[in-house]
Structure formats: structure tokens, C-alpha cells
């Protein structure tokens, strides 16, 4: 039976089920296939803090939202058009984000009395009239998967684990996706257990065929490929981009990478990724805690590697003393903070931007260092490279502020060529030539001297040091001067960074200023406003300290400055203090990224005055 084909500009699909239902995997497969088919996209994985909460519970629901389209995609979608709900809890938790007239694909087999009760339903929503606003497809996914695999005689548990591929197959059909890449992936993934290869492929095909054969769906959809620039692409998460960016930088610097890290959500994947890359000569050291992690990284930098440490907010709270030590000893160091919901343990698997103040101020004494923040998943690559560049050139620790949303979210990445990137110049001092450990070059940086170099033996430490000689100094004036010298060294970086990029006109009614992962939502909202003829521009600050030199004049070109942040106003307060400009804040501390519509609405409000 031929079905009607509708062409869509974009669609947002949310896969939701129990933590054990494989929704992250399903979502990732859909994403990768869509990316390979040339769509632009953005994703939002959303999983519980529990590893695998009891089956059927509301807090055990794991979701993965993906927004694909033929135009530029900035966000994972404000709402979803399609919800795949593997059980009642998944339906309950995600329904409010489903658009009216949206499609629900529900695994009917899981709408048992017990599961309904867990989800807090008295009556099955599939049976009462509560879902009239939506297009509901109840499908016995478990049962149908079982039938498809019947003759394989696999244990029930195994069969049950294949049902996500049935759902994926169905969605592949519905959105005219190519199954081949996923089939290839299954073959590789399960190559050691051929029966699983067979089972999963069968489930996938059964789901696909279910779409083809049954009368349930009146139409299928197509999303043409996006007008992305020509080139090779891959889909990339922020954490992977970060890992690759760090490796690229050390290679371009001709250094070795030493990572001292302690696992923590949502940063651990960088450690995992880098641990795999031992063939790049990368040394990963899983330390006993965050303090040892950073201390070992600083030790490694002293010895001539580029030391790095990756963590999240609670880890940074522990590293403050050592960061100050790196400031004092003026050693290169890269500190990656994948922010999550705080304070304290907070919401470990949710996203937030509330560690900006800490990055800038969170140490005793005057301990300035550069703070930068990527704007999108693939920008993590760029900013990782930038952090290494600054650390080496200025002999300083650098903090990169990413967050849970960037870390796990993904987008298509136009794969560059390694030769697109400049070498990072490293000059180890090898001969005295009149230099001392705290001599200064034109950037106020001191020389980097590797142990093992004859005649340059020296000692560094956390006590205040005399400029040039680097010897301990308790001299009052020297201390004052060194405090200001360290500050000047960092502030001078403002002369060495790309100007902050403005989207829109240089003057106007409202400037929306953002940083970090709010980029997509702000950009989309501003695009909408601009196409509605509003005098609204977008300034995204990727260098937070020091800021690019043009920030001040840009701010002053607008009647109003609106600062949306996933915190209570940390950048806003920085802007007020640095530039004495009044700011209007839009703050959301929901553990979730902004929706473009929320920002659009606020801009409207600000425009109305």
C-alpha cells in the first residue's frame, strides 16, 4: 500500500521509556541516521540520576529529544511533534511537552494495571478520552517484537531488550529514514553475539514493516536535507568535541597531554574518551579525588606536559586551592567544568550555568585566570583548542565552562582538516640567556622550563615570589606589584582574542546577551524577532574573562540589554559591574535549556517596555 508522503521542514521527536529501555541508544541512532541524511539537528538527552530506577516509575523515565530539519536547527525543539512512549510513566512525564495534534506512539503492552498505578493513572489514558488532542497510535510493541523473534528461541529478557529497535524501525519508516547505517551499527556492536545481531535487525525491520503494512498511519513524512555547507560531517556531542579539541591542541603544540581526572556526571565521558586515545600518547590518570586530579595535572605541567583536569561544579569547589597555586606558579593548565544543576549535589544529570561566578571568583586571594565558554556542542572543539592556546601562551590556568546540555547534546559537525589549525608555539627555555624563572616576555608570560634541562634548576611554590628571580619574597611592594602583574597579564588577553560576534545590527532596541549553551535558543528567538522586523540583536560572549574589547561599545549601542541565563543572573551582574550598564534578566533555573519561545516572549515584553 502506497501512503501519502508529506514533506516537513523540521520535526521534533522524543523517545521516552524506562532507564532500561534503551531510549538513549534509540535516540542516538535516529540522530546519526538523520545527520547522515543531511539534516541539521540538535539533541537533548534527559536521563535520571538513578542508574536504573525501578521499572515503570516516573523518576525512572529516560528521554531523548531530537530536532531535525532542512533549515538551520538551533535548539532541540521547544515542544515535540512525536512522542514515543514505551510505558505509562514515559507518557505522563512527557505529555506536557507534546504539541497539540502531535503523534503519540505508545507501547500498549506496557499499559498494565501495575504500570498505570506507578505512573499515577487511575484509568489508562489510552482508553479514556484524555488524549483527544493528539494522534494516538497504540501498538503492542513488546508482543510484536516477540512474534518477530519467535523462532530464535531467545530468553524472554533478551527479546524484551529488542523492542526499542522495533520502535526505531517504525519511526524510521514514518520519517523515511535509511535503515542501513543502523543495521551496520548493530552488526558491529554485537559482533561477538551473532544471535543479538539477528534479533535486533529483525526487530528493526519488523517495526519498519509494521509501518509499511498496517493501515494505522495515513501518511509518512520526509524532511529534505539541510542547506549545510558542503563538506564531510559527523554528528558530535559536546563532550566528544571537547576531547578531540584537547587532543588536537596538544598535537598542534607538540606536547603530551596529561589528564588528571576524577569521574563525575556529566564530565566523565571526556575522561572515557581520552582514556581510549592512548595511541596519541595521552596519559590519563584517574586520581583518588578532584584535588589529586588537578594536583597531578599541575605536576605534569611542571614536568613539561600540558596538564588538564575535567570535572563538574562539585569538583571545581574542591580544586580552588590548587587552581590558585597554578595561578601563583604561572603554569599552563586547562580546567574543564561541565556544569550541572547546583548547589551541592543538586541535580547531577541536569544542565545549568551557575558556576560562572565560581570560575571567576572562586578562590582565595587575587587569583585571576581566563574563563571561556563554548556555545554549541561542536564549539566545544574550538574552545578546547582556544583554552590550550591561552594556557600555553600566557602560562596560566584556563577554565572552560561547558554544561550538561552541551556535553550530551549533539549537532552535525563539519569535519575540519587538521591542517586548518595553526601550530601552537611552545618554547621551553633550554639555555639561560639571561633569563630567570620569573622573567617576562612581551605577553608578561614567564618561561616554561622542563626538569631535565641542565643549568636551569629552579624551585617554584605558592608563597609570593619576587618578580624575575622567582625566589620567595615577603617584600610588601613586590607583593602588590605581583598581584597587579598577574592581573595585567590576564587582562591583556583581551587584545588577543576574537572580537565578540554580533548577530544583527550594531545598534537597536534590544541586545540579547548570552553565554554558553543558551546560544541556540537565543539565536532562534532573535532570528524570529529580526524577521518580524524588530531591532533586536544577539551578542554571545565566549570569552567571559577577560571579555573581548568590543563588548562595551556593543552594549552601549542598544536601548536595552536583556540577559537570559540558566542561573539567577551571573553574567548580568558581571556586565553591570564591568560596564555600569543596566540589564534586564531572564532567568531559568529549571535544569533544562531555554526554549526559543520563552526568549521570544521576553523580548516582546522588553520591546513593549
Amino acid at each position: 500500500m502506497e501512503k501519502e508522503v508529506q514533506v516537513l521542514e523540521d520535526v521534533t521527536i522524543r523517545f521516552a521509556g524506562d532507564s532500561g529501555d534503551g531510549m538513549q541508544l534509540t535516540g542516538t541512532q535516529f540522530t546519526n541516521v538523520s545527520a547522515m541524511m543531511g539534516n541539521d539537528l540538535a539533541t537533548l538527552p534527559d536521563f535520571p540520576a538513578e542508574i536504573r530506577a525501578p521499572i515503570g516509575t516516573l523518576y525512572g523515565v529516560s528521554g531523548f529529544q531530537v530536532h531535525i530539519g532542512s533549515g538551520k536547527i538551533h535548539t532541540p525543539g521547544d515542544h515535540s511533534d512525536v512522542l514515543v512512549a514505551m510505558n505509562p510513566a514515559a507518557l505522563k512525564v512527557n505529555l506536557r511537552e507534546l504539541d497539540t495534534n502531535g503523534i503519540i506512539i505508545a507501547n500498549e503492552d506496557q499499559f498494565t494495571e501495575k504500570n498505570l498505578k506507578y505512573a499515577g493513572y487511575e484509568v489508562s489514558p489510552l482508553e479514556d478520552n484524555s488524549l483527544v488532542k493528539y494522534r494516538v497510535f497504540k501498538i503492542r510493541i513488546t508482543h510484536l517484537t516477540g512474534l518477530a523473534l519467535e523462532d530464535l528461541k531467545l530468553p524472554n529478557k533478551t527479546v524484551d531488550r529488542c523492542k526499542n529497535f522495533f520502535a526505531l524501525g517504525l519511526i524510521f519508516w514514518l520519517f523515511s529514514r535509511d535503515s542501513e547505517p543502523t543495521i551496520a551499527w548493530i552488526k558491529d556492536k554485537f559482533k561477538k553475539t551473532p544471535e543479538l545481531v539477528e534479533a535486533n535487525i529483525r526487530a528493526l525491520k519488523a517495526g519498519f514493516n509494521y509501518g509499511v503494512i498496517t493501515e494505522a498511519f495515513q501518511s509518512k513524512y520526509e524532511i529534505s536535507s539541510a542547506q549545510l555547507p558542503k563538506g564531510k560531517y559527523r554528528n558530535i556531542t559536546g563532550n566528544t568535541a571537547m576531547a578531540i579539541g584537547l587532543v588536537t591542541a596538544v598535537q598542534k603544540a607538540g606536547l603530551e597531554l596529561f589528564l588528571g581526572s576524577y569521574p563525575i556526571t556529566p564530565a566523565s565521558d571526556i575522561l572515557h574518551d581520552l582514556s581510549k586515545l592512548k595511541n596519541f600518547g595521552i596519559k590519563t590518570f584517574q586520581a583518588e579525588d578532584e584535588i589529586a586530579a588537578i594536583a597531578s595535572a599541575i605536576g605534569a605541567s611542571f614536568a613539561g606536559d600540558l596538564g588538564m583536569t575535567t570535572t563538574s561544579g562539585p569538583g571545581v569547589s574542591l580544586k580552588g586551592e590548587a587552581i590558585g597555586y597554578a595561578v601563583m606558579t604561572e603554569l599552563p593548565l586547562v580546567i574543564v567544568n561541565i556544569q550541572r544543576g547546583g548547589p551541592s549535589t543538586g541535580l547531577p544529570t541536569k544542565t545549568e550555568q551557575s558556576d560562572l561566578n565560581q570560575a571567576i571568583y572562586g578562590r582565595h586571594g587575587e587569583a585571576p585566570l581566563p574563563v571561556i565558554a563554548p556555545a554549541t556542542p561542536s564549539d566545544c572543539f574550538i574552545m578546547a583548542f582556544e583554552a590550550c592556546r591561552l594556557a600555553i601562551k600566557y602560562m596560566t590556568p584556563v577554565i572552560i565552562l561547558s554544561d550538561g546540555y552541551l556535553a550530551n547534546g549533539s549537532e552535525p559537525w563539519k569535519i575540519p582538516s587538521p591542517s586548518d589549525f595553526p601550530e601552537i608555539k611552545v618554547e621551553f627555555l633550554t639555555e639561560k640567556n639571561g633569563k630567570l624563572p620569573y622573567s617576562r616576555n612581551e605577553f608578561n608570560a614567564r618561561p616554561w622550563i622542563k626538569p631535565g634541562t641542565p643549568n636551569l634548576e629552579h624551585r617554584i611554590g605558592g608563597i609570593e615570589k619576587a618578580n624575575v628571580s622567582g625566589n620567595i619574597s615577603y617584600d610588601p611592594e613586590n607583593h602588590h606589584n605581583m598581584v597587579y602583574l598577574r592581573k595585567a597579564k590576564i587582562e591583556n588577553i583581551a587584545n588577543d582574542i576574537v572580537p565578540a560576534e554580533l548577530f544583527g545590527n550594531e545598534t537597536g532596541d534590544v541586545l540579547v546577551v548570552g553565554w554558553g549553551s543558551t546560544y541556540g535558543a537565543i539565536r532562534k528567538a532573535v532570528e524570529l524577532q529580526q524577521s518580524a522586523g524588530k531591532k533586536v540583536s544577539h551578542l554571545h560572549i565566549r570569552h567571559l574573562y577577560p571579555m573581548a574589547k568590543n563588548v562595551e561599545s556593543l552594549l552601549k549601542g542598544f536601548k536595552k540589554v536583556l540577559v537570559p541565563e540558566m542561573n539567577t543572573g551571573q553574567l548580568a551582574s558581571l556586565l553591570r559591574s564591568d560596564f555600569l550598564v543596566p540589564t534586564i534578566q531572564l532567568n531559568k533555573v529549571y535544569g533544562q535549556p531555554f526554549k526559543a519561545s520563552e526568549i521570544t516572549k521576553k523580548i516582546d515584553e522588553v520591546l513593549r517596555g
Binding site: G38, A292, A300, G304, Y325, I415, K450, R459
Partner: protein, 345 residues
């Protein structure tokens, strides 16, 4: 190889070469001076170029040590020297890394890094200056101060059971454990040689007199009239004999060491326990670690245990070589293009 040997042969350094131009700032009479002198005197023996030494310390009087050594040095933050040193050695396994720390630095705030570096077995040498007090902060009790000790922060006497540093190290899988003392510099020198020789984390505890805040704590072990009856010098393969007239010894009664008199004829030297540094199990070293000043036993000085196992940095390097062999030397082009890649035309 012979070139390397030649290079080593040709290095003829002296203690002076290891003396930095910084004024030494310990209190006059502090035990730290003696330890510094012994280290400066001993390093030239190792035939290692001066630039390949790195001294890493935490915070405390003792931790000022690196400033006085004309080698590479890091005076780090309180308690973390072992963690910094792990990075130094991990980054460059060719360096000879020495960690200088105090009883507070290593065992109070730094206890965790201390036990972890030991279990990982980086090939570094830890010298713990144990003066049983916090010197730099002017005299609070430390984790090695005895119960009842009156200090600024324990005016009614400490109620903390002290650690035995050697027991802690052994509990953390230590392969090399030794004790020396500031006042017996010849013995101390030998301990430093031994620590250096051991491949893996060497833990050397040195009893050190703090003249200002804990003067005389170790005097039983150093003063002429008490010393010989209080100290048991350990030598591998030798029976445990001590005493002014070599008239005392230690026998094992099951798992319990017992002091016996060799003078009255009941026991002869052949009955005594024989020291075995290389015992595979740490049990023997553990037994020695329980014998200390606070007990009736004499204080053993010397190498308690010297048993090697693979070092951490070797493991790290091996994995890198392995990975390069298996996957080829890392190449950015292919790293960028990993996974599902597509072309947009």
C-alpha cells in the same frame, strides 16, 4: 648503553652542587638541617645528572626543603605533594622524584594521597620528617603525637590515638618501608641510598627533632645513655639483637615478638628472630611496625620491607606503546573522521 654509562661516569657532583643559593630558614638546632645535609651528601653517589632530580614538598617547616636543593623543585600546597609528584613522574618517568613531607602534611591533610601513591607504586621516594608536631603553625598536635600530649590545641592533652606511619604505609600495600633518625646521619644516609635503589614508592620515615615545639621527643633514641637499649638496628638476614652489651634480642612467640635476655643463658642468638626485608608477605614488616617507642619494645630503625612490584608509570607507558602498536600512532585526520561520517555535496 656505554654512552649512557660514560655520561654517568663523567658526572662527578658533590654536596655543594646540590646546595642552592637560598638561605636556610629553619630554627637553629632544628633536626631538618641534618637531614638536608645527608641528602645533599648522598645524591652525588647516584650518578644522576642534577637536572634530573625533582624535589616536591607540601607545606610545613620540613616542606621548605626543596628551596635548599639546587635541583628542580616544587613547594606545593598542604598535603598534596604526593599528588603533584604523581603528575611529575607520570609526565616524565626519567626524573628522579623525591617527596619531602611532614607528619601533618603527609598523614593529616595528605593522608589520602599518601596511601594512594603507595598503592599505585609510582617510582618515587617519600621522606617523611616526623617531629610529631605541627611546626610551621607553631605547635599543635599531629596525627603522630602521643595520647595525652599537651599542645596549643590540646591544652588538656590529645585524645587522638596516633598513627604508626609505617603501619599505615604497609596497610596501603607499601613495597618499601624504612625508618631513620636525624641524629644518626650515617644510618640515615644508608636509608636514603636504599630508598633510591628501590624501584617503586619508597617510604622513609625520619624521626626529626623540633627544638622549638617538641624538643627531646626522640631523646631516648639519640642520647648516649639510653640509645642502645632503645634502638634496634635492622639488618637483612641478621638476628634482632640490641642493647648496650648486645645483650637483648627479640624472639617470636607465635605471632608476638618477645624481648629476651641473652646474658642469662636462657636464650642464645640462634633463638632470635631473623630480619627478612624481602619477605613476600608484609606480615613481618607489619610486626616490626607495631614495635615502637610507645610500647616496651625497642624502636626498630632500618629497612622494614623491600619488595618490588610493577611501577605505575611503567604501566602507563606500556599501555601507550600497546595502543600505538595496536591502533597505530594517533592521527588527527582519522580521529576527526571516526564514527558515522557523511558528505554534503
Amino acid at each position: 648503553m656505554s654512552e649512557v654509562l660514560n655520561k654517568i661516569e663523567s658526572i662527578k657532583l658533590t654536596a655543594k652542587d646540590f646546595t642552592s643559593d637560598q638561605d636556610v630558614r629553619w630554627c637553629p638546632g632544628c633536626g631538618d638541617y641534618a637531614i638536608l645535609a645527608v641528602v645533599q651528601r648522598t645524591l652525588p653517589e647516584f650518578g644522576i645528572p642534577r637536572e634530573n632530580f625533582v624535589f616536591v614538598s607540601g607545606i610545613g617547616c620540613s616542606s621548605r626543603f626543596p628551596y635548599y636543593m639546587n635541583t628542580y623543585g616544587m613547594h606545593t600546597i598542604h598535603g598534596r605533594a604526593t599528588a603533584f609528584a604523581s603528575g611529575v613522574k607520570g609526565a616524565n618517568p626519567d626524573l628522579s622524584v623525591w617527596i619531602i613531607t611532614g607528619d601533618g602534611d603527609a598523614l593529616s591533610i595528605g593522608g589520602n594521597h599518601f596511601i594512594h601513591i603507595i598503592r599505585r607504586n609510582f617510582d618515587v621516594n617519600i621522606i617523611l620528617f616526623n617531629n610529631e608536631i605541627y611546626g610551621l603553625t607553631k605547635g599543635q598536635y599531629s596525627p603522630t603525637s602521643e595520647v595525652g600530649k599537651v599542645t596549643k590545641s590540646s591544652p588538656y592533652g590529645s585524645i587522638d590515638t596516633p598513627f604508626k606511619p609505617t603501619s599505615v604505609a604497609l596497610g596501603a600495600e607499601a613495597g618499601f618501608v624504612a625508618i631513620g633518625i636525624d641524629r644518626d646521619t650515617k644510618h640515615l644516609q644508608e636509608m636514603i641510598r636504599r630508598a633510591h635503589k628501590h624501584k617503586g614508592t619508597s617510604f622513609l620515615e625520619v624521626y626529626q627533632n623540633c627544638v622549638i615545639f617538641n624538643d627531646g621527643t626522640f631523646s631516648a633514641l639519640t642520647e648516649k645513655d639510653t640509645k642502645q637499649d632503645s634502638v634496634l638496628y635492622l639488618e637483612h638476614g641478621k638476628p634482632l639483637v640490641y642493647g648496650k652489651e648486645n645483650d637483648k634480642g627479640i624472639i617470636m612467640d607465635g605471632l608476638t615478638p618477645k624481648i629476651v635476655n641473652l646474658a642469662d643463658g636462657t636464650y642464645s642468638i640462634n633463638d632470635l628472630a631473623v630480619h627478612d626485608e624481602h619477605a613476600k608477605d608484609p606480615t613481618w614488616a607489619h610486626i616490626l611496625s607495631r614495635m615502637n617507642r610507645s610500647s616496651d619494645y625497642p624502636q626498630p630503625l632500618g629497612v622494614f620491607r623491600d619488595v618490588e612490584r610493577p611501577t605505575y608509570e611503567k604501566g602507563l607507558v606500556n599501555q601507550i606503546e600497546l595502543a600505538k602498536g595496536k591502533r597505530g600512532k594517533g592521527n588527527l585526520e582519522s580521529l576527526f573522521n571516526e564514527g558515522d561520517v557523511w558528505e554534503n555535496n
